[in-house]
Protein backbone atom coordinates (compact mmCIF):
# COMPACT_ATOMS: atom_id res chain seq x y z
CA UNK A 1 0.00 0.00 0.00
CA UNK A 2 1.28 3.43 -0.96
CA UNK A 3 0.96 6.19 1.60
CA UNK A 4 2.77 8.87 -0.29
CA UNK A 5 0.91 9.67 -3.45
CA UNK A 6 3.42 11.28 -5.75
CA UNK A 7 0.65 12.81 -7.83
CA UNK A 8 -0.66 14.56 -4.75
CA UNK A 9 2.82 15.62 -3.72
CA UNK A 10 3.42 16.99 -7.15
CA UNK A 11 0.18 18.94 -7.08
CA UNK A 12 0.89 20.45 -3.71
CA UNK A 13 4.46 21.25 -4.59
CA UNK A 14 3.41 24.38 -6.42
CA UNK A 15 1.83 25.96 -3.39
CA UNK A 16 4.69 24.86 -1.14
CA UNK A 17 7.17 26.50 -3.45
CA UNK A 18 4.99 29.58 -3.58
CA UNK A 19 4.99 29.71 0.21
CA UNK A 20 8.76 29.39 0.11
CA UNK A 21 9.10 32.26 -2.32
CA UNK A 22 6.69 34.43 -0.38
CA UNK A 23 8.61 33.72 2.79
CA UNK A 24 11.88 34.51 1.07
CA UNK A 25 10.48 37.85 -0.05
CA UNK A 26 9.19 38.52 3.44
CA UNK A 27 12.55 37.67 5.02
CA UNK A 28 14.29 39.87 2.52
CA UNK A 29 11.94 42.75 3.29
CA UNK A 30 12.58 42.27 6.99
CA UNK A 31 16.29 42.53 6.30
CA UNK A 32 15.70 45.64 4.24
CA UNK A 33 13.55 47.14 6.99
CA UNK A 34 16.51 47.73 9.25
CA UNK A 35 18.45 49.20 6.39
CA UNK A 36 15.62 51.43 5.30
CA UNK A 37 15.36 52.79 8.83
CA UNK A 38 19.09 53.39 8.79
CA UNK A 39 18.79 55.33 5.56
CA UNK A 40 15.79 57.35 6.78
CA UNK A 41 17.53 58.10 10.04
CA UNK A 42 20.70 59.26 8.37
CA UNK A 43 18.79 61.21 5.75
CA UNK A 44 16.72 62.96 8.42
CA UNK A 45 19.73 63.86 10.46
CA UNK A 46 21.61 65.14 7.43
CA UNK A 47 18.62 67.10 6.17
CA UNK A 48 18.14 68.77 9.55
CA UNK A 49 21.72 69.25 10.50
CA UNK A 50 24.04 69.48 7.54
CA UNK A 51 23.25 73.12 6.79
CA UNK A 52 24.25 74.08 10.31
CA UNK A 53 27.69 72.62 10.25
CA UNK A 54 30.47 75.11 9.63
CA UNK A 55 33.66 76.21 11.27
CA UNK A 56 31.82 78.45 13.71
CA UNK A 57 29.56 75.65 14.83
CA UNK A 58 32.58 73.48 15.55
CA UNK A 59 34.71 76.15 17.19
CA UNK A 60 32.15 78.26 19.08
CA UNK A 61 31.26 77.81 22.68
CA UNK A 62 27.74 77.01 23.74
CA UNK A 63 25.17 79.75 23.56
CA UNK A 64 21.45 80.11 24.09
CA UNK A 65 21.36 81.82 20.73
CA UNK A 66 21.19 79.11 18.07
CA UNK A 67 22.96 81.30 15.56
CA UNK A 68 25.99 81.64 17.76
CA UNK A 69 25.92 78.28 19.50
CA UNK A 70 28.80 75.91 18.89
CA UNK A 71 29.97 72.57 20.19
CA UNK A 72 33.59 73.30 20.98
CA UNK A 73 32.86 72.75 24.66
CA UNK A 74 31.23 69.39 23.98
CA UNK A 75 34.04 68.33 21.67
CA UNK A 76 36.66 69.27 24.24
CA UNK A 77 34.64 67.61 26.98
CA UNK A 78 34.43 64.46 24.91
CA UNK A 79 38.17 64.49 24.34
CA UNK A 80 38.93 64.99 28.02
CA UNK A 81 36.54 62.20 28.88
CA UNK A 82 38.35 59.89 26.48
CA UNK A 83 41.63 60.91 28.01
CA UNK A 84 40.38 59.43 31.26
CA UNK A 85 38.50 56.46 29.82
CA UNK A 86 41.28 55.26 27.50
CA UNK A 87 44.10 54.75 30.02
CA UNK A 88 41.80 53.53 32.77
CA UNK A 89 40.09 50.88 30.63
CA UNK A 90 43.41 49.96 29.05
CA UNK A 91 45.04 49.32 32.39
CA UNK A 92 42.04 47.66 33.99
CA UNK A 93 40.90 45.77 30.90
CA UNK A 94 44.24 44.54 29.67
CA UNK A 95 45.43 43.81 33.21
CA UNK A 96 42.36 41.74 33.90
CA UNK A 97 42.70 39.94 30.60
CA UNK A 98 46.36 39.12 31.24
CA UNK A 99 45.54 37.86 34.67
CA UNK A 100 42.73 35.66 33.44
CA UNK A 101 44.58 34.29 30.44
CA UNK A 102 48.13 33.96 31.71
CA UNK A 103 48.10 33.73 35.48
CA UNK A 104 44.77 32.61 36.86
CA UNK A 105 44.46 28.91 37.44
CA UNK A 106 41.42 27.73 35.54
CA UNK A 107 39.44 27.38 38.71
CA UNK A 108 36.74 29.00 40.75
CA UNK A 109 38.28 32.44 41.07
CA UNK A 110 38.84 32.90 37.39
CA UNK A 111 35.41 31.62 36.45
CA UNK A 112 33.93 33.86 39.13
CA UNK A 113 35.69 36.86 37.65
CA UNK A 114 34.58 35.83 34.18
CA UNK A 115 30.93 35.51 35.20
CA UNK A 116 31.23 38.87 36.84
CA UNK A 117 32.55 40.52 33.74
CA UNK A 118 29.87 39.08 31.53
CA UNK A 119 27.21 40.21 33.98
CA UNK A 120 28.80 43.63 34.18
CA UNK A 121 28.34 43.86 30.43
CA UNK A 122 24.59 43.48 30.90
CA UNK A 123 24.08 46.07 33.62
CA UNK A 124 22.10 49.03 32.21
CA UNK A 125 24.24 52.10 31.71
CA UNK A 126 21.94 54.20 33.86
CA UNK A 127 22.80 51.99 36.82
CA UNK A 128 26.47 52.76 36.21
CA UNK A 129 25.39 56.38 36.34
CA UNK A 130 23.98 55.82 39.82
CA UNK A 131 27.21 54.13 40.84
CA UNK A 132 29.23 57.04 39.48
CA UNK A 133 26.99 59.56 41.19
CA UNK A 134 27.18 57.78 44.52
CA UNK A 135 30.81 56.74 44.53
CA UNK A 136 32.77 59.19 42.42
CA UNK A 137 30.71 62.38 42.43
CA UNK A 138 29.52 62.16 46.02
CA UNK A 139 31.46 59.75 48.23
CA UNK A 140 34.84 60.74 46.75
CA UNK A 141 33.48 64.27 46.48
CA UNK A 142 34.77 64.80 42.97
CA UNK A 143 31.57 66.48 41.83
CA UNK A 144 30.32 66.07 38.29
CA UNK A 145 33.70 66.61 36.69
CA UNK A 146 35.52 64.86 33.87
CA UNK A 147 37.30 62.48 36.20
CA UNK A 148 34.10 61.26 37.82
CA UNK A 149 32.40 60.85 34.45
CA UNK A 150 35.46 59.19 32.96
CA UNK A 151 35.83 56.65 35.74
CA UNK A 152 32.14 55.79 35.49
CA UNK A 153 32.38 55.40 31.75
CA UNK A 154 35.57 53.35 32.06
CA UNK A 155 33.82 50.81 34.27
CA UNK A 156 30.91 50.74 31.87
CA UNK A 157 33.04 49.80 28.86
CA UNK A 158 35.47 47.63 30.80
CA UNK A 159 33.92 44.32 29.70
CA UNK A 160 34.40 45.21 26.04
CA UNK A 161 38.13 45.70 26.54
CA UNK A 162 38.51 42.65 28.76
CA UNK A 163 36.81 40.32 26.31
CA UNK A 164 38.64 41.71 23.27
CA UNK A 165 41.99 41.56 25.04
CA UNK A 166 41.36 38.02 26.24
CA UNK A 167 40.66 36.94 22.70
CA UNK A 168 43.73 38.73 21.40
CA UNK A 169 45.97 37.17 24.05
CA UNK A 170 44.51 33.73 23.44
CA UNK A 171 45.24 34.12 19.73
CA UNK A 172 48.96 34.56 20.34
CA UNK A 173 50.39 31.18 19.35
CA UNK A 174 51.87 29.04 22.07
CA UNK A 175 55.07 28.56 20.05
CA UNK A 176 55.96 32.22 20.51
CA UNK A 177 55.68 31.84 24.24
CA UNK A 178 57.75 28.67 24.09
CA UNK A 179 60.43 30.45 22.07
CA UNK A 180 60.71 33.09 24.75
CA UNK A 181 60.70 30.69 27.67
CA UNK A 182 63.31 28.67 25.81
CA UNK A 183 65.64 31.68 26.00
CA UNK A 184 65.40 31.71 29.77
CA UNK A 185 62.86 34.53 29.84
CA UNK A 186 60.63 34.77 32.87
CA UNK A 187 56.89 34.73 32.58
CA UNK A 188 56.47 38.47 32.85
CA UNK A 189 59.29 39.08 30.38
CA UNK A 190 57.56 36.76 27.97
CA UNK A 191 54.23 38.48 28.41
CA UNK A 192 55.70 41.93 28.15
CA UNK A 193 58.05 41.31 25.24
CA UNK A 194 56.24 38.70 23.21
CA UNK A 195 52.60 38.19 24.11
CA UNK A 196 51.48 41.79 24.48
CA UNK A 197 53.17 43.11 21.34
CA UNK A 198 51.64 40.28 19.35
CA UNK A 199 48.21 40.83 20.91
CA UNK A 200 48.39 44.59 20.57
CA UNK A 201 46.32 44.97 17.39
CA UNK A 202 43.49 42.95 18.88
CA UNK A 203 43.70 44.87 22.13
CA UNK A 204 43.72 48.21 20.31
CA UNK A 205 40.70 47.20 18.29
CA UNK A 206 38.89 46.40 21.51
CA UNK A 207 39.92 49.67 23.10
CA UNK A 208 38.72 51.67 20.12
CA UNK A 209 35.40 49.86 20.12
CA UNK A 210 35.09 50.52 23.84
CA UNK A 211 35.85 54.19 23.34
CA UNK A 212 33.31 54.46 20.58
CA UNK A 213 30.77 52.96 22.93
CA UNK A 214 31.76 55.48 25.60
CA UNK A 215 31.51 58.37 23.17
CA UNK A 216 27.91 57.50 22.41
CA UNK A 217 26.69 56.98 25.97
CA UNK A 218 24.41 59.60 27.46
CA UNK A 219 22.50 58.26 30.42
CA UNK A 220 25.32 57.78 32.95
CA UNK A 221 26.53 61.33 32.51
CA UNK A 222 23.05 62.82 32.68
CA UNK A 223 22.64 60.94 35.95
CA UNK A 224 25.96 62.15 37.31
CA UNK A 225 24.76 65.66 36.51
CA UNK A 226 25.72 67.95 33.68
CA UNK A 227 24.37 71.51 33.81
CA UNK A 228 21.92 72.53 31.10
CA UNK A 229 24.05 75.54 30.28
CA UNK A 230 27.79 75.24 30.57
CA UNK A 231 29.62 77.65 28.37
CA UNK A 232 33.22 77.28 29.52
CA UNK A 233 35.46 74.80 27.78
CA UNK A 234 36.98 72.29 30.23
CA UNK A 235 40.70 72.62 30.82
CA UNK A 236 41.42 69.49 32.75
CA UNK A 237 39.98 66.45 34.41
CA UNK A 238 38.75 68.36 37.43
CA UNK A 239 36.56 70.69 35.39
CA UNK A 240 32.88 70.40 34.78
CA UNK A 241 32.14 69.36 31.26
CA UNK A 242 29.59 68.33 28.73
CA UNK A 243 29.89 65.85 25.88
CA UNK A 244 28.35 65.53 22.44
CA UNK A 245 25.51 63.10 23.33
CA UNK A 246 24.47 65.14 26.35
CA UNK A 247 24.45 68.28 24.25
CA UNK A 248 22.25 66.45 21.76
CA UNK A 249 19.97 65.47 24.61
CA UNK A 250 19.50 69.00 25.92
CA UNK A 251 19.03 70.45 22.49
CA UNK A 252 16.52 67.76 21.60
CA UNK A 253 14.32 68.38 24.61
CA UNK A 254 14.71 72.14 24.31
CA UNK A 255 13.80 72.05 20.64
CA UNK A 256 10.23 72.57 21.83
CA UNK A 257 11.30 76.01 23.02
CA UNK A 258 13.58 77.05 20.19
CA UNK A 259 12.92 75.17 16.98
CA UNK A 260 16.47 75.67 15.73
CA UNK A 261 17.78 73.61 18.62
CA UNK A 262 16.54 70.55 16.73
CA UNK A 263 18.86 71.52 13.88
CA UNK A 264 21.72 71.99 16.31
CA UNK A 265 20.99 68.56 17.75
CA UNK A 266 20.96 67.05 14.26
CA UNK A 267 24.17 68.82 13.34
CA UNK A 268 25.80 67.49 16.49
CA UNK A 269 24.55 64.01 15.64
CA UNK A 270 26.22 64.28 12.25
CA UNK A 271 29.50 65.14 13.93
CA UNK A 272 29.08 62.33 16.45
CA UNK A 273 28.31 59.80 13.74
CA UNK A 274 31.31 60.92 11.73
CA UNK A 275 33.53 60.45 14.76
CA UNK A 276 32.08 57.01 15.44
CA UNK A 277 32.36 55.99 11.83
CA UNK A 278 35.99 57.07 11.77
CA UNK A 279 36.76 55.16 14.95
CA UNK A 280 35.13 52.01 13.69
CA UNK A 281 36.93 52.28 10.40
CA UNK A 282 40.22 52.55 12.23
CA UNK A 283 39.33 49.50 14.28
CA UNK A 284 38.50 47.56 11.13
CA UNK A 285 41.70 48.74 9.46
CA UNK A 286 43.79 47.59 12.39
CA UNK A 287 41.99 44.28 12.45
CA UNK A 288 42.48 43.68 8.74
CA UNK A 289 46.05 44.85 8.67
CA UNK A 290 47.23 42.61 11.44
CA UNK A 291 44.85 39.73 11.04
CA UNK A 292 47.07 37.15 9.36
CA UNK A 293 50.27 37.64 11.21
CA UNK A 294 51.16 34.14 12.29
Amino acid sequence: MKYVDSEQVHKKMGSRLLANNLAKTLFFMATLFGLVVLIVLIYRVLADGLGWINMDFLMNRLSTDPERAGIWGAITGTLWLMLVVAPVTMILGVGTAIYLEEYAAKGRISSFIKTNISNLAGVPSVVFGILGLTVFARALDLGSVVLAGGLTMALLVLPVVVVASQEAIRAVPQFLREASYGMGATKWQTIKNVVLPAALPGILTGVILALSRAIGETAPLVVIGIPALLIPVPDGIFDKFTILPVQIYYWTIDSALVAEYANLAAATIVILLIVLFAMNSIAILIRNKFQKRF
Binding site: N20, F27, T31, G34, N119, S125, V126, V127, L155, T252
Partner: protein, 318 residues
Amino acid sequence: MAKSAVQHDNKKLNVREIIQQKKKSRSVNNYTEKLIPKILFGIAAISVFTTIGIVLTLITETIAFFKDVPFIDFFTGTELKPLGENAVFGVLPLLTGTIISTLIAMLVAIPVGLMTAIFLSEYASEKTRKALKPLLEILAGIPTIVYGFFAFTFVTPLLRSFIPGLEPTNILSPGIVMGIMIIPMVASLSEDAMSSVPNAMREGALALGATKLEVTWKVVVPAAISGIIASFVLGISRAIGETMIVTIASGSSKNFTFDVTQSMQTMTAYIVEVTGGEAAAGTTLYYSLYAVAMTLFVFTLIMNLLAQYISRKFREEY
Protein backbone atom coordinates in the same frame (compact mmCIF):
# COMPACT_ATOMS: atom_id res chain seq x y z
CA MET B 1 89.06 20.46 24.90
CA ALA B 2 85.83 21.30 26.59
CA LYS B 3 87.25 24.71 27.30
CA SER B 4 87.24 25.66 23.66
CA ALA B 5 84.02 27.60 23.88
CA VAL B 6 85.26 29.64 26.76
CA GLN B 7 88.61 30.29 25.18
CA HIS B 8 87.00 31.50 22.05
CA ASP B 9 84.79 33.84 24.02
CA ASN B 10 87.64 35.33 25.93
CA LYS B 11 89.05 36.70 22.75
CA LYS B 12 86.22 39.06 22.16
CA LEU B 13 83.27 39.12 24.48
CA ASN B 14 81.81 36.59 26.81
CA VAL B 15 78.08 36.90 26.81
CA ARG B 16 77.67 34.00 29.17
CA GLU B 17 79.72 35.81 31.76
CA ILE B 18 77.96 39.12 31.27
CA ILE B 19 74.65 37.38 31.75
CA GLN B 20 75.92 35.73 34.92
CA GLN B 21 77.01 39.08 36.29
CA LYS B 22 73.78 40.78 35.37
CA LYS B 23 71.87 37.98 37.00
CA LYS B 24 73.45 38.65 40.36
CA SER B 25 72.48 42.31 40.26
CA ARG B 26 68.97 41.53 39.30
CA SER B 27 67.16 40.49 42.42
CA VAL B 28 64.75 43.30 41.47
CA ASN B 29 63.69 41.15 38.60
CA ASN B 30 62.60 38.35 40.87
CA TYR B 31 60.71 40.84 42.89
CA THR B 32 58.77 42.08 39.84
CA GLU B 33 58.10 38.54 38.84
CA LYS B 34 56.36 37.91 42.15
CA LEU B 35 54.69 41.28 42.30
CA ILE B 36 53.18 41.37 38.82
CA PRO B 37 50.64 38.57 39.30
CA LYS B 38 49.51 40.21 42.51
CA ILE B 39 49.04 43.56 40.81
CA LEU B 40 47.20 41.92 37.95
CA PHE B 41 45.01 40.03 40.37
CA GLY B 42 44.23 43.31 42.07
CA ILE B 43 43.27 44.81 38.74
CA ALA B 44 41.08 41.84 37.89
CA ALA B 45 39.49 42.14 41.30
CA ILE B 46 38.36 45.65 40.43
CA SER B 47 35.86 44.24 38.00
CA VAL B 48 34.53 42.09 40.78
CA PHE B 49 34.53 45.03 43.16
CA THR B 50 32.60 47.05 40.63
CA THR B 51 29.82 44.55 40.55
CA ILE B 52 29.93 44.13 44.29
CA GLY B 53 30.12 47.91 44.59
CA ILE B 54 27.04 48.36 42.48
CA VAL B 55 25.13 45.77 44.44
CA LEU B 56 26.24 47.06 47.84
CA THR B 57 25.49 50.69 47.00
CA LEU B 58 22.11 49.72 45.72
CA ILE B 59 21.34 47.46 48.64
CA THR B 60 22.28 49.85 51.47
CA GLU B 61 20.34 52.74 50.02
CA THR B 62 17.46 50.50 49.07
CA ILE B 63 17.25 49.32 52.65
CA ALA B 64 17.09 52.97 53.75
CA PHE B 65 14.27 53.45 51.28
CA PHE B 66 12.27 50.56 52.64
CA LYS B 67 12.51 52.06 56.10
CA ASP B 68 10.48 54.98 54.77
CA VAL B 69 8.24 53.14 52.37
CA PRO B 70 6.98 49.63 53.17
CA PHE B 71 8.14 46.96 50.77
CA ILE B 72 4.59 45.87 49.97
CA ASP B 73 3.41 49.40 49.26
CA PHE B 74 6.30 49.92 46.88
CA PHE B 75 5.69 46.80 44.84
CA THR B 76 1.91 46.91 44.85
CA GLY B 77 1.39 50.66 44.69
CA THR B 78 -0.22 51.85 41.50
CA GLU B 79 0.45 55.46 42.32
CA LEU B 80 3.78 57.18 42.00
CA LYS B 81 4.02 60.79 43.16
CA PRO B 82 7.61 61.20 44.20
CA LEU B 83 7.60 64.96 44.63
CA GLY B 84 5.85 67.30 46.98
CA GLU B 85 4.73 66.87 50.52
CA ASN B 86 2.43 63.90 50.16
CA ALA B 87 4.81 61.77 48.17
CA VAL B 88 3.59 58.28 47.25
CA PHE B 89 5.95 55.62 46.01
CA GLY B 90 4.31 52.81 44.11
CA VAL B 91 6.58 51.27 41.50
CA LEU B 92 3.87 49.65 39.40
CA PRO B 93 3.53 52.60 37.00
CA LEU B 94 7.25 52.32 36.26
CA LEU B 95 7.08 48.54 36.00
CA THR B 96 4.22 48.66 33.53
CA GLY B 97 6.02 51.38 31.61
CA THR B 98 9.14 49.26 31.44
CA ILE B 99 7.33 46.06 30.60
CA ILE B 100 5.11 47.61 27.97
CA SER B 101 7.96 49.43 26.24
CA THR B 102 9.96 46.20 26.30
CA LEU B 103 7.02 44.27 24.88
CA ILE B 104 6.57 46.72 22.05
CA ALA B 105 10.28 46.66 21.34
CA MET B 106 10.34 42.87 21.25
CA LEU B 107 7.26 42.76 19.04
CA VAL B 108 9.36 44.65 16.52
CA ALA B 109 12.77 43.17 17.20
CA ILE B 110 11.89 39.48 17.46
CA PRO B 111 10.05 38.95 14.18
CA VAL B 112 12.15 41.35 12.15
CA GLY B 113 15.38 40.22 13.76
CA LEU B 114 14.59 36.55 13.33
CA MET B 115 13.47 36.98 9.74
CA THR B 116 16.63 38.95 9.02
CA ALA B 117 18.68 36.19 10.59
CA ILE B 118 16.88 33.57 8.51
CA PHE B 119 17.39 35.53 5.35
CA LEU B 120 21.07 36.05 6.01
CA SER B 121 21.76 32.52 7.16
CA GLU B 122 19.52 30.46 4.86
CA TYR B 123 18.62 32.46 1.77
CA ALA B 124 21.26 35.10 1.11
CA SER B 125 24.26 34.30 -1.03
CA GLU B 126 27.66 34.68 0.56
CA LYS B 127 28.11 37.97 -1.27
CA THR B 128 24.81 39.46 -0.11
CA ARG B 129 25.49 38.40 3.44
CA LYS B 130 28.91 40.00 3.41
CA ALA B 131 27.39 43.23 2.11
CA LEU B 132 24.42 43.36 4.47
CA LYS B 133 25.98 42.37 7.77
CA PRO B 134 28.24 45.40 8.17
CA LEU B 135 25.28 47.66 7.43
CA LEU B 136 23.34 46.03 10.23
CA GLU B 137 26.36 46.51 12.45
CA ILE B 138 26.22 50.23 11.74
CA LEU B 139 22.64 50.20 12.96
CA ALA B 140 23.84 48.53 16.15
CA GLY B 141 26.57 51.11 16.66
CA ILE B 142 24.38 54.20 16.53
CA PRO B 143 24.20 55.87 19.96
CA THR B 144 20.85 55.57 21.67
CA ILE B 145 20.54 59.33 22.00
CA VAL B 146 20.36 59.45 18.22
CA TYR B 147 17.52 56.95 18.28
CA GLY B 148 15.88 59.11 20.91
CA PHE B 149 16.12 62.13 18.65
CA PHE B 150 14.76 60.04 15.79
CA ALA B 151 11.83 58.78 17.84
CA PHE B 152 10.97 62.24 19.09
CA THR B 153 11.40 64.27 15.93
CA PHE B 154 10.42 61.73 13.29
CA VAL B 155 8.65 58.58 14.42
CA THR B 156 6.22 60.21 16.84
CA PRO B 157 4.99 62.85 14.35
CA LEU B 158 4.79 60.12 11.70
CA LEU B 159 2.72 57.86 13.92
CA ARG B 160 0.51 60.71 15.03
CA SER B 161 -0.42 61.37 11.45
CA PHE B 162 -2.27 58.07 11.27
CA ILE B 163 -3.00 57.22 14.90
CA PRO B 164 -5.18 60.17 15.89
CA GLY B 165 -5.39 59.44 19.61
CA LEU B 166 -1.64 59.19 20.02
CA GLU B 167 -0.36 61.59 22.63
CA PRO B 168 2.60 63.84 21.86
CA THR B 169 4.68 61.75 24.18
CA ASN B 170 3.73 58.10 24.28
CA ILE B 171 5.24 54.72 24.91
CA LEU B 172 4.50 53.36 21.44
CA SER B 173 7.00 55.39 19.47
CA PRO B 174 10.02 54.86 21.73
CA GLY B 175 9.01 51.19 22.03
CA ILE B 176 9.13 50.77 18.27
CA VAL B 177 12.39 52.65 17.93
CA MET B 178 13.92 50.60 20.73
CA GLY B 179 12.84 47.51 18.81
CA ILE B 180 14.60 48.80 15.71
CA MET B 181 17.70 49.40 17.77
CA ILE B 182 17.61 45.81 19.02
CA ILE B 183 17.02 44.20 15.61
CA PRO B 184 20.73 43.90 14.77
CA MET B 185 21.46 42.23 18.09
CA VAL B 186 18.72 39.62 17.71
CA ALA B 187 19.58 39.15 14.04
CA SER B 188 23.27 38.64 14.50
CA LEU B 189 23.05 36.35 17.54
CA SER B 190 20.31 34.27 15.93
CA GLU B 191 22.24 34.12 12.71
CA ASP B 192 25.27 32.84 14.56
CA ALA B 193 23.13 30.13 16.12
CA MET B 194 21.62 29.11 12.79
CA SER B 195 24.90 29.18 10.93
CA SER B 196 26.33 26.73 13.40
CA VAL B 197 23.68 24.16 12.51
CA PRO B 198 25.62 21.68 10.37
CA ASN B 199 24.86 21.59 6.68
CA ALA B 200 24.37 17.83 6.88
CA MET B 201 21.11 18.54 8.63
CA ARG B 202 19.90 20.83 5.87
CA GLU B 203 20.96 18.31 3.25
CA GLY B 204 19.10 15.58 5.07
CA ALA B 205 15.90 17.54 4.84
CA LEU B 206 16.42 18.83 1.31
CA ALA B 207 17.01 15.25 0.14
CA LEU B 208 13.52 14.39 1.32
CA GLY B 209 12.05 16.96 -1.04
CA ALA B 210 11.58 19.71 1.53
CA THR B 211 11.50 23.30 0.36
CA LYS B 212 13.95 25.77 1.84
CA LEU B 213 11.24 27.23 4.02
CA GLU B 214 10.42 23.80 5.42
CA VAL B 215 14.08 23.10 6.05
CA THR B 216 14.49 26.41 7.83
CA TRP B 217 11.36 26.28 9.86
CA LYS B 218 11.24 22.61 10.79
CA VAL B 219 14.93 21.75 11.01
CA VAL B 220 17.27 24.72 11.29
CA VAL B 221 15.24 26.90 13.62
CA PRO B 222 14.40 24.05 16.03
CA ALA B 223 18.04 22.99 16.05
CA ALA B 224 19.23 26.52 16.77
CA ILE B 225 16.39 27.35 19.12
CA SER B 226 18.47 27.79 22.25
CA GLY B 227 20.75 30.32 20.60
CA ILE B 228 17.75 32.08 19.14
CA ILE B 229 15.94 32.27 22.45
CA ALA B 230 19.10 33.46 24.17
CA SER B 231 19.24 36.27 21.63
CA PHE B 232 15.65 37.20 22.48
CA VAL B 233 16.39 37.22 26.19
CA LEU B 234 19.44 39.41 25.69
CA GLY B 235 17.30 41.70 23.56
CA ILE B 236 14.77 41.91 26.37
CA SER B 237 17.51 42.72 28.83
CA ARG B 238 18.74 45.45 26.53
CA ALA B 239 15.24 46.90 26.17
CA ILE B 240 14.68 46.92 29.91
CA GLY B 241 17.90 48.85 30.46
CA GLU B 242 17.50 51.29 27.60
CA THR B 243 17.24 54.84 28.85
CA MET B 244 17.57 57.77 26.51
CA ILE B 245 14.99 56.78 23.91
CA VAL B 246 12.23 56.51 26.47
CA THR B 247 13.44 59.51 28.43
CA ILE B 248 13.17 61.71 25.38
CA ALA B 249 10.16 60.28 23.65
CA SER B 250 7.89 58.87 26.33
CA GLY B 251 7.56 61.82 28.67
CA SER B 252 7.38 61.45 32.37
CA SER B 253 3.81 60.86 33.36
CA LYS B 254 3.57 58.23 36.00
CA ASN B 255 0.16 56.90 35.02
CA PHE B 256 -0.64 53.34 35.82
CA THR B 257 -2.09 52.41 32.47
CA PHE B 258 -1.85 49.88 29.69
CA ASP B 259 -2.75 52.29 26.93
CA VAL B 260 0.23 52.48 24.60
CA THR B 261 -0.90 55.78 23.12
CA GLN B 262 -0.22 57.44 26.44
CA SER B 263 2.89 58.73 28.04
CA MET B 264 4.45 56.33 30.52
CA GLN B 265 7.64 56.37 32.44
CA THR B 266 10.10 53.50 32.62
CA MET B 267 12.37 52.74 35.52
CA THR B 268 15.34 54.08 33.61
CA ALA B 269 13.63 57.32 32.64
CA TYR B 270 12.57 57.81 36.28
CA ILE B 271 16.18 57.62 37.37
CA VAL B 272 17.18 60.23 34.80
CA GLU B 273 14.29 62.49 35.74
CA VAL B 274 14.93 62.34 39.44
CA THR B 275 18.69 62.80 39.25
CA GLY B 276 18.22 65.59 36.70
CA GLY B 277 15.96 67.45 39.08
CA GLU B 278 16.31 67.18 42.76
CA ALA B 279 18.26 64.41 44.39
CA ALA B 280 19.28 65.89 47.69
CA ALA B 281 20.85 63.11 49.71
CA GLY B 282 18.87 61.67 52.58
CA THR B 283 15.38 62.26 51.25
CA THR B 284 12.98 59.48 50.45
CA LEU B 285 13.01 60.69 46.88
CA TYR B 286 16.76 60.17 46.79
CA TYR B 287 16.49 56.68 48.21
CA SER B 288 13.74 55.84 45.76
CA LEU B 289 16.35 56.15 43.03
CA TYR B 290 18.19 53.22 44.49
CA ALA B 291 15.10 51.14 45.03
CA VAL B 292 14.20 51.61 41.38
CA ALA B 293 17.77 51.05 40.21
CA MET B 294 17.91 47.88 42.30
CA THR B 295 14.70 46.60 40.75
CA LEU B 296 16.13 47.39 37.33
CA PHE B 297 19.41 45.70 38.16
CA VAL B 298 17.68 42.56 39.39
CA PHE B 299 15.52 42.44 36.26
CA THR B 300 18.44 42.68 33.88
CA LEU B 301 20.62 40.38 35.96
CA ILE B 302 17.94 37.70 35.83
CA MET B 303 17.67 38.15 32.08
CA ASN B 304 21.41 37.91 31.56
CA LEU B 305 21.76 34.86 33.76
CA LEU B 306 18.81 33.32 31.98
CA ALA B 307 20.43 33.92 28.60
CA GLN B 308 23.68 32.40 29.81
CA TYR B 309 21.80 29.47 31.28
CA ILE B 310 19.81 28.84 28.11
CA SER B 311 22.78 28.93 25.82
CA ARG B 312 24.84 26.75 28.14
CA LYS B 313 22.16 24.28 29.16
CA PHE B 314 20.54 23.74 25.80
CA ARG B 315 23.69 23.87 23.75
CA GLU B 316 22.87 21.89 20.61
CA GLU B 317 24.30 18.39 20.64
CA TYR B 318 24.67 17.74 16.95
